[in-house]
C-alpha cells in the first residue's frame, strides 16, 4: 500500500471507525466483483453513513489524489462498481434512510443506499410505489439505479429511472456539493439531474435523490402467450407495438431459458414451448379487460399456440417470480453466466435472435434469451465455464459480435446495464469520435482529474479510433455507415 493510501486509511479509520473501513486483503476481496464478469481489487473500501462522512471520504481522497469508485449493492452487470485501477471503493449501502415520503406531492426523498424494493414497500400502505423495477430490485440501491438509469419489466409503460427522478444532490470529486432539479418539475436552469442520471458514477457521487411516487393501478391482467416458434413470439411483439397497445410489461423467454426457470421456480411455463411472452396490462378495470382481449387476439393471430390468463394473484406472482429469478435459474445450469444487454428496433427482434443464434453456433457456445421485448431490449445469456481455458474469451467475443449486430441495425449497445468497463471499447460502434469528444468534455467539467470512477463509460481517446477501425474490419454485421454512426 502506498504512503498516501496508508495515511488516507488511517485518517478514514479515525473518523469513520474501523467497522467502516476495510483495508485487509480478505475484506477487500469481497468487493472485487459486481454482477458482471470483470474483477479488480480495491485498495480500500469505506462505508460512509452520513453526508458528512461521505464528504470527509471525498475530501480525503482529493487531498491524497486517490481514485474513488462509488458502489451501491454491487449488482451492476457492466463492471461499473469495480475499482478497475484500484483506489477507494465508496460503498453507499449504509446511507440508507428514506428521508421523506410526501404523498401530497407524490414524491420521496431518499439516500442512495435505499434498496429499490424497500422504497416501494414503505410507500405501499399509502397505495404508492417507485415505478422502476429492475429484476434485482430486492437488492439493488436507488443510487445504483440512478447511476445506471435502470429499467425493469414495467418500465415499458412507466419509463426508466430518469423519468422518475426529479432532483439530486451530489458531491463532486473535489469535495464541492451540487444540487440539481428539486421536487418541482420545472426548476430554473439546465437539467443537470437528467445528465447525472445514467452517468455511471463518473461525474459525481449521488447522496440524495428525489423521485416521483406512482399510484398503484386498480387492476392488472397477466397473460402468458405460449409459442412453438421464437419467430411467432417476435412477430407478436411487433404486432402489439404497431397496434398501438402499450402493455405495462412485455417480456420474452426462449425455450432454453424457460426450461431452466421451470426446473428452479416452477413458474408454470410449458417446458415443450419454444418461447413464451409474459404480458401485463394495468390500469382501470374498464381499460384492462378490453386491452387483454386485444392482446390475446393479436398473439393468436401471430401464431401463439395458447394464451393463458393468470387466474389469481398467486398465479400471477408465480409467473413473475419465474421472470424475476431467471438469471438465478440460468446461473444454476452452467458454472458461469454472461448477461448481455443490447437494444434493437422492435421490428427487428426475430432477425436479431436468428443472428445471435448463428453467432452462438459459430462460437460453439450455449445461448439463452430472456428480455424486455416490448422495449426491444435484448438480454442474451451466454452459458460457459470460466475455469476452462479460453471459454471466457470465446464468450466475450461472441457477445461482442451480438452487440455489434444490435448496433448495425440501428440499435444501441446498452439498454439498461450501462457501459461500465464492459463496453467502453465498444462505444465507437454507435458514437463518432466527435460525439465521444463532447462526452469527454462533460466529464472534464465534473471530474477534471478523472479520479472518479476511471476507466468506465468512455474509451480512452486513442484506443477509441483504433477500436472503431478494428470493428469495421471484423464485425460481420457491420456496414460502413451503421458502424460509425447509425443513430440520429
Amino acid at each position: 500500500m502506498s504512503a498516501a493510501l496508508q495515511s488516507a486509511s488511517a485518517e478514514l479509520t479515525a473518523r469513520l471507525g474501523s467497522a467502516a473501513v476495510f483495508n485487509q486483503p480478505v475484506q477487500r476481496m469481497l468487493y472485487e466483483y459486481d454482477g458482471g464478469v470483470d474483477t479488480a481489487l480495491p485498495d480500500l473500501v469505506v462505508f460512509p453513513e452520513t453526508r458528512e462522512q461521505l464528504q470527509f471520504v471525498v475530501e480525503t481522497a482529493a487531498r491524497y489524489e486517490l481514485l474513488l469508485v462509488p458502489r451501491g449493492a454491487g449488482t451492476g452487470l457492466s463492471g461499473g462498481a469495480i475499482a478497475r485501477h484500484g483506489g477507494i471503493l465508496v460503498a453507499l449501502n449504509r446511507m440508507r434512510r428514506i428521508l421523506a415520503l410526501d404523498y401530497a406531492n407524490q414524491r420521496a426523498r431518499v439516500e442512495p443506499g435505499v434498496v429499490n424494493l424497500e422504497l416501494s414497500n414503505a410507500a405501499a400502505p399509502a397505495g404508492y410505489y417507485f415505478a422502476p423495477d429492475p429484476s434485482s430490485q430486492q437488492a439493488c440501491t436507488i443510487g445504483g439505479n440512478v447511476a445506471e438509469n435502470s429499467g425493469g419489466p414495467h418500465t415499458l409503460a412507466y419509463g426508466v429511472t430518469v423519468n422518475h427522478v426529479t432532483g439530486l444532490e451530489a458531491i463532486l470529486p473535489d469535495g464541492r456539493w451540487i444540487s440539481a432539479g428539486g421536487a418541482a418539475l420545472d426548476t430554473a436552469g439546465p437539467d443537470i439531474a437528467g445528465l447525472l442520471t445514467g452517468s455511471e458514477g463518473t461525474l459525481a457521487i449521488v447522496a440524495a435523490i428525489t423521485v416521483k411516487l406512482t399510484r398503484r393501478p386498480e387492476a392488472a391482467r397477466t397473460l402468458l402467450a405460449i409459442y412453438d416458434s421464437i419467430d411467432a413470439a417476435a412477430i407478436s411483439v411487433s404486432a402489439i407495438t404497431s397496434a398501438g397497445l402499450i402493455p405495462a410489461a412485455l417480456e420474452m423467454l426462449d425455450g432454453f431459458t424457460l426450461r431452466a426457470v421451470e426446473d428452479y421456480i416452477h413458474a408454470g411455463y410449458p417446458r415443450d414451448s419454444a418461447a413464451v411472452l409474459l404480458i401485463e396490462l394495468e390500469g382501470l378495470e374498464e381499460e384492462v379487460e378490453p386491452g387483454m382481449h386485444a392482446v390475446r387476439r393479436l398473439c393468436l393471430q401471430a401464431g401463439a399456440r395458447e394464451v393463458q390468463l393468470a387466474r389469481d394473484a398467486e398465479q400471477r406472482q408465480r409467473l413473475w417470480k419465474g421472470r424475476k429469478h431467471a438469471f438465478g435459474a440460468a446461473g444454476r445450469i452452467a458454472p458461469s453466466l454472461y448477461v448481455m444487454d443490447g437494444v434493437i428496433p422492435r421490428t427487428r427482434i426475430a432477425e436479431l435472435l436468428r443472428a445471435a443464434d448463428e453467432i452462438a453456433r459459430r462460437y460453439k457456445i450455449q445461448l439463452g434469451n430472456i428480455f424486455h421485448a416490448g422495449d426491444g431490449n435484448l438480454h442474451p445469456l451466454v452459458f460457459f465455464d470460466q475455469r476452462q481455458p479460453g471459454e471466457l474469451d470465446r464468450a466475450v467475443a461472441a457477445s461482442r459480435e451480438i452487440i455489434a449486430a444490435c448496433a448495425a441495425v440501428g440499435g444501441s449497445i446498452s439498454g439498461e446495464h450501462g457501459i461500465g468497463m464492459e463496453k467502453d471499447q465498444l462505444m465507437p460502434l454507435i458514437f463518432s469520435e466527435d460525439d465521444l469528444d463532447f462526452m469527454h468534455r462533460i466529464r472534464a467539467a465534473f471530474n477534471p482529474q478523472g479520479r472518479l470512477n476511471p476507466g468506465k463509460l468512455l474509451p480512452e481517446f486513442r484506443a477509441c479510433r483504433e477500436t472503431m477501425n478494428s470493428w469495421q474490419l471484423n464485425a460481420p454485421f457491420s456496414s460502413s455507415d451503421s458502424v460509425v454512426s447509425p443513430n440520429v
Binding site: E218, G376, M427, V488
Partner: protein, 398 residues
C-alpha cells in the same frame, strides 16, 4: 444556405451548414443568436427554419427522426396518417421543434405522457467547438453514453445548437372527453386535486386556471355560480372509461360543492386549442411541488392585487407547473419581492423565461452558477453560444 452578412443573418439548410455557421462564428469571435428580436451586427443570428428533413420514420416501431426546423404541426400531420402522435401541445404550434426543445415547452398533455425530456430518444447538435455530434439513438431504451439530450433540452442553446431530434411516438389516443369543474376557492381546488390524485384515474390532462374565456364555455353550459378557479380533466378511452371518469369526477366535484360541466364532443378540440393559446402575451413561469403550488399561487395573486396588477394563471394542476399572466407587466421589483414572499413556503421557482428582463430572469438556478459556469466554459470555450442563464455574461438574456 441563405446568408445576409450585412445583417449577420444565416439560414442554413442542413446541419452541415449550421456547423459551418458556428465555425465561422468561432473564426470571427462572433456569438450566435437564436433570438429573432435581436438583429445587431455583434452576433450572427441563426434562422433554423430550413432544417426540414425527415431522417427516418418507423411507424411499426413507433419512432421517427426529424430536423429541428420542422414544427410539431408538420410532424403531427404526417404521424396522423398512421394514427400515431407526438403528445406535445404548445402555446403556438408554429414553434419550431428546435425552439420547443431548447425552451423545454410543454402543455396539458404532459400530465398523461410526460414532457419532451421523456420522449426524446436521440438528438443531434452543433457544439460550441463547431462539431456536429449526437447523443442517444433511434431506439426507445438506451443508456449508452452521457444523456446529453437532457443537457440540451431546456438549456436554450447554452451548450449547443439542436439540428435534429428522434422521438418515441405514441398511438393516437382513444376518444377523449373533457370536463370543467368550477372550484369555489383554493381550498376546494386543493381538495379536488387530492381526490383525483388518490383515485385510480389517470387523466391525460389535469389543469387549473384562474378563468376561462367566455368563448370556451358556451353560455348554456355556464355553471350556476361564479367560480373562482377552474379545474379541467381530460381522459382518453372508450365509452366505459368515460363513464367511469364521469361518475368519479361528479362525486369529487360534489365533495367541493361543485358540479361537472362536460365539454360537448364537437367543441372539445377547439376548446383545447383555445386553452393552449392562453395567454397570448409573454408570461411568467411558476413551478413548485404540485400541492405546495396551490399554497403559493394565492399568495402571488394577493401580491399582484396589492400592486394593482391583474393576475391570471393556467397550468398543470397534477404536476405543479403554471404560466402566469400579469397586467400591466410587473416591475422587476415585484418579481423579486414575490420570490422572497414565496421563499418561506418551500421549493418554488418563479422565472421570466419569455422576455428580456433587466433583472436576472431566472432567479437562483437549481444548480450553482459557479459550477454551471465551469460546465459552460468546457462546452462553449469560444463563448459563441447563447448565454440565456448569464453564465458567462453578468446578466442572462432570456
Amino acid at each position: 444556405m441563405t446568408t445576409a452578412s450585412a445583417s449577420n443573418l444565416a439560414a442554413p439548410a442542413s446541419p452541415a451548414e449550421v456547423q459551418a455557421c458556428l465555425q465561422e462564428a468561432i473564426a470571427r469571435f462572433t456569438p450566435i443568436s437564436l433570438d429573432s428580436s435581436i438583429s445587431d451586427s455583434s452576433s450572427i443570428r441563426l434562422d433554423l427554419s430550413q432544417l426540414r428533413a425527415w431522417r427516418f420514420w418507423e411507424p411499426d416501431d413507433l419512432t421517427c427522426g426529424v430536423e429541428a426546423g420542422l414544427t410539431p404541426r408538420d410532424v403531427q400531420l404526417r404521424l396522423s396518417e398512421q394514427r400515431l402522435f407526438l403528445p406535445f401541445d404548445l402555446p403556438s404550434p408554429d414553434f419550431s421543434l428546435g425552439a420547443a426543445l431548447a425552451g423545454n415547452h410543454s402543455g396539458p398533455l404532459r400530465q398523461g405522457y410526460g414532457s419532451l425530456r421523456d420522449f426524446v430518444i436521440g438528438i443531434e447538435f452543433v457544439t460550441g467547438s463547431g462539431e456536429l455530434v449526437k447523443a442517444g439513438g433511434r431506439v426507445v431504451k438506451n443508456v449508452a453514453g452521457y444523456d446529453s439530450m437532457k443537457l440540451m433540452i431546456g438549456s436554450r442553446g447554452s451548450f449547443g445548437i439542436i439540428t435534429a431530434v428522434n422521438f418515441r411516438l405514441f398511438p393516437a389516443p382513444a376518444p377523449t372527453a373533457t370536463w370543467l369543474v368550477p372550484c369555489p376557492g383554493w381550498e376546494a381546488a386543493k381538495r379536488f386535486r387530492a381526490a383525483v390524485m388518490a383515485s385510480y384515474l389517470k387523466p391525460i390532462a389535469f389543469e387549473l386556471a384562474s378563468s376561462v374565456q367566455s368563448a370556451m364555455v358556451p353560455p348554456e353550459l355556464a355553471p350556476p355560480h361564479h367560480a373562482q378557479l377552474w379545474a379541467l380533466v381530460r381522459c382518453a378511452g372508450e365509452e366505459p372509461v368515460h363513464h367511469r371518469y364521469q361518475k368519479e369526477l361528479s362525486e369529487f366535484a360534489r365533495q367541493i360543492s361543485s358540479q361537472l360541466v362536460a365539454i360537448p364532443e364537437d367543441r372539445e378540440s377547439r376548446f383545447w386549442d383555445e386553452w393552449n393559446a392562453w395567454p397570448a402575451s409573454a408570461p411568467l413561469s411558476f413551478s413548485a411541488p404540485p400541492e405546495l403550488a396551490l399554497r403559493a399561487l394565492p399568495l402571488l395573486a394577493d401580491h399582484a392585487r396589492s400592486a394593482g396588477l391583474a393576475f391570471g394563471f393556467q397550468g398543470r394542476l397534477g404536476l405543479g407547473v403554471y404560466r402566469l399572466a400579469l397586467r400591466p407587466a410587473p416591475a422587476p421589483e415585484w418579481i423579486l419581492a414575490a420570490r422572497s414572499l414565496l421563499a418561506g413556503l418551500g421549493e418554488t421557482w418563479l422565472t421570466v423565461p419569455g422576455a428580456a428582463s433587466p433583472l436576472n430572469a431566472w432567479g437562483p438556478l437549481a444548480t450553482s452558477r459557479a459550477f454551471l459556469r465551469e460546465l459552460k466554459q468546457h462546452l462553449d470555450p469560444h463563448h459563441i453560444l447563447p448565454d440565456p442563464f448569464g453564465l458567462i455574461t453578468e446578466n442572462g438574456t432570456a
